[in-house]
Symmetry: C2
Subunit: 313 residues, 2 copies
């Protein structure tokens, strides 16, 4: 078994073109070419662990991905992610590669999925990007949005001035023009491409402030109880896109909206079908679209394969 440590992964990542790989993964998934059992979940006093696993039929490997989020401090404010990705042979079950990414690849494939959602669903003209949350994922989302929009103006929302300031300094170095706010209304009014990245369990984006022509990518909620969007937003949306229909019925924003009776299964479409052009994405500037990304094992498989392959070169 090959072992690839985090520092090696960090060196390999900039050379990879992950968007086409992960687009293909979503397409294969929506075409029924993947086997992805329900997510395994382990809850502990100070954290939670997700086990995502699966494979594409007739390919070489299956993946088992372990990703955790643990509160670092007693006050339960600072969360750190951890984990690893494992590739095994579909023929023998032999372990082929352990990617000791400590959660990095999960963060990156989530950001890439955000970029894919924006590519297909955001309005053509975005004057300001709205980022909800100012942590690691909020940084990565912005970085990976670069190739899909020329917009560099950003409004970031958070609850800690310190965090917002640190986010501003970091992202300005990456060429963005960052304005902070602690007022979600301001963000919703000014931004037509909004990405939510927090572990919130109560809605942050409110239906009352929802503007025509907005696209929202929700990546924070990946459990049955996390929620960043007022479920009425999904009810109002012209288009609700799930990364995995099956998974979004059990976790994430769609799960919440269905539970609230504001959305029905037939109103949703799957991201892979939008990518392949089997169903239409955004049809006009005025439409409201929501992409609910709960994270699917095929994304883990795609990124793990890409890093493994590059490490062989």
């Amino acid at each position: 078994m090959k072992i690839i440590r985090r520092d090696q992964i960090e060196r390999i990542l900039p050379s990879l073109d992950l968007m086409p790989e992960i687009e293909q993964a979503f397409q294969a998934y929506s075409k029924g070419r993947a086997v992805v059992p329900p997510v395994g979940e382990l809850l502990l006093d100070r954290g939670e662990v997700h086990i995502k696993y699966g494979y594409l039929k007739q390919q070489q490997h299956y993946v088992i991905k372990i990703a955790s989020g643990f509160y670092e401090d007693q006050a339960m404010k600072q969360m750190s992610s951890n984990g690893m990705m494992l590739l095994f042979s579909q023929k023998s079950g032999q372990a082929v590669c352990a990617l000791l990414d400590e959660g990095l690849l999960t963060n990156v494939r989530t950001a890439v999925a955000g970029a894919i959602a924006a590519k297909y669903l955001a309005p053509e003209r975005v004057d300001k990007i709205g980022m909800v949350g100012a942590g690691t994922q909020a940084r990565l989302q912005l970085s990976y949005l670069k190739p899909v929009t020329s917009c560099r103006k950003v409004m970031v929302w958070g609850t800690s001035r310190e965090e917002l300031e640190s986010y501003r300094l970091d992202m300005e170095q990456e060429g963005f023009d960052i304005k902070s706010t602690m007022d979600i209304r301001e963000l919703q009014q000014q931004c037509r491409l909004i990405v939510t990245t927090t572990p919130s369990k109560t809605p942050l984006l409110l239906s009352d402030y929802l503007q025509k022509g907005t696209h929202i990518t929700a990546v924070g909620s990946d459990t049955p109880d996390k929620q960043e969007l007022d479920p009425k937003i999904l009810g109002k949306a012209d288009l609700v896109v799930a990364d995995s229909m099956e998974q979004c019925l059990l976790r994430g924003e769609i799960h919440q909206a269905i539970k609230a009776g504001l959305l029905e299964k037939h109103q949703m479409i799957e991201l892979g079908h939008v990518i392949s052009g089997q169903t239409l994405g955004r049809e006009s500037m005025d439409q409201i679209t929501v992409a609910d990304l709960t994270g699917v094992a095929v994304q883990d498989l795609a990124i793990a394969e890409a890093v493994y392959k590059a490490s062989q070169a």
Copy 2:
């Protein structure tokens, strides 16, 4: 993260006294001190993968165990096991140790559980041990039975003369007196301690040949469809013991017997309660007892911890 490879594990294993460790694990589990989510399962063309995971509350680590069985040949006859065990910190989610056991520790903890079941449930006097199956697990079960019975006479049942002969040669070297049979009736008539170790999906042990005073430990079936015992055997038994009540309702022999309407939940007890003495085990020489061992994550945790600890010494 510490990495322990299979050759190191093989060197460490003989020095470990695993029975008390795994007895404690079963007791803690039955006392409700463990968190063990449902088993994750991945089915492939030529094999299956089980992911078992969990932890004991207020302890140091949680375990994620990956174990697979794959057919090595196109004819789907020879199966090989593989996998690894991973220990993580309960406080931070950090990976502490990867035990690259290739399935060995799963095989061993299963054999130890078999010995524990025999210790508490087999009749005091056993003149001959009946082993159903002649593969790796059938070898390990016998080895680990040594400390709990003085009986060294064994009848082994199998479907391949070659396999039976190879089993005889191997186990005679370990001091057993081995007789082979391809007639399950002969085995059931002569043996009062029977261990079943095959991946069969149709009953091998038959209710018609069941003798008074027999104890059966069934370790082969760990899925909803595998089955080695005629479910009537569980119906007739005076005592049916589950390693995990929750798990045995979904997989293994108990699951089959309940599905067939021959057993009810209240007729079963849990192994951890027998070990702790909270419920009685065998009460007379004449009783028929069945232990259904589907394999519980707390066993994986116990053996992984023991090997990890020994590796630090």
